[in-house]
Symmetry: C2
Subunit: 137 residues, 2 copies
DNA sequence: GTAACTGCAAAATATTTGCATCCTT
DNA sequence: AAGGATGCAAATATTTTGCAGTTAC
């Protein structure tokens, strides 16, 4: 509870029940959460709309970031220690396990440099790896 | 028209007006198309449902592949020459221009090798780069 | 006290399913 | 001729918006 409060305060967001609870879900899960993962756990507590708006405010403040999912859905995960809120860079690797379905950020893996054809100017890079995670092998 | 017919035949799909037309859209666009990009162009010709079902059959046959988009939407693009239909590998780079919004496959760029933590077994890798494309500079 | 946040209703958007009819092979 | 493909209607799912009431600071 204390941690959530602090994170919210640092982001200039008021501490409300829904924000603390949803932030808590992210803090206690090492893997990324989809909207429906979250909804399932808080459906009885808050309105759908509140969940959407909570996620949106977390995104705007750089508390969480989106992870593209090539099955169409979008997932969300905590940003690591200090995402610069202005230049929101997430050049890290995401791993999606096709067995358990969990997606997680591999913070320790760096994307090696690569060349783009002339004229292309990259701003942000994200690498999505699919396969089998260490738990599922 | 002849090309579409041939591609469809090779994939064991019947040649119908909607499939030829939609396949034609992919053939004449170098960038990836979202569902709504397609819908806009064929709305007066076919039903929504037909478009969805057409895309689904193209995906199943490996004619097109999905491209995750970290703004939530999904796009579709032609698979390069010969995607093995069984092992559907798309280890190539996608570039999304934040200015014009177009996403394209950079077939010529290869993803450099990188290390994963122990236990993780990769099957498929996709690299999404965002920035400014050569046309928009 | 006030601006920010929430819940509810409802709209807007997106996707899927069933079924009768039509068309490709 | 027969099975696959399409169109229509409608169900289902997803996300957003407006507004009135509530709450954090």
């Amino acid at each position: 509870m204390r941690i959530q409060r602090q994170i919210l305060k640092e982001s200039n967001l008021r501490s409300t029940t829904s924000r603390s609870k949803i932030l808590g879900l992210f803090l206690s899960n090492s893997h990324a959460l989809s909207y429906s993962d979250i909804e399932k756990q808080v459906a009885s507590l808050f309105d759908r709309v509140t969940v959407y708006r909570t996620l949106k405010s977390f995104l705007e403040k750089g508390i969480i970031h989106k992870i593209p999912d090539n099955s169409g859905g979008l997932k969300y995960a905590l940003c690591s220690d200090h995402c610069p809120h202005t230049v929101h860079q997430h050049d890290h690797v995401h791993f999606k396990c096709t067995r358990c379905g969990q997606t997680s950020c591999l913070e320790e893996v760096e994307i090696p440099p690569f060349d783009l054809p002339g004229g292309y100017k990259p701003d942000e890079v994200s690498l999505l790896v699919q396969g089998t995670c260490s738990k599922c092998r």
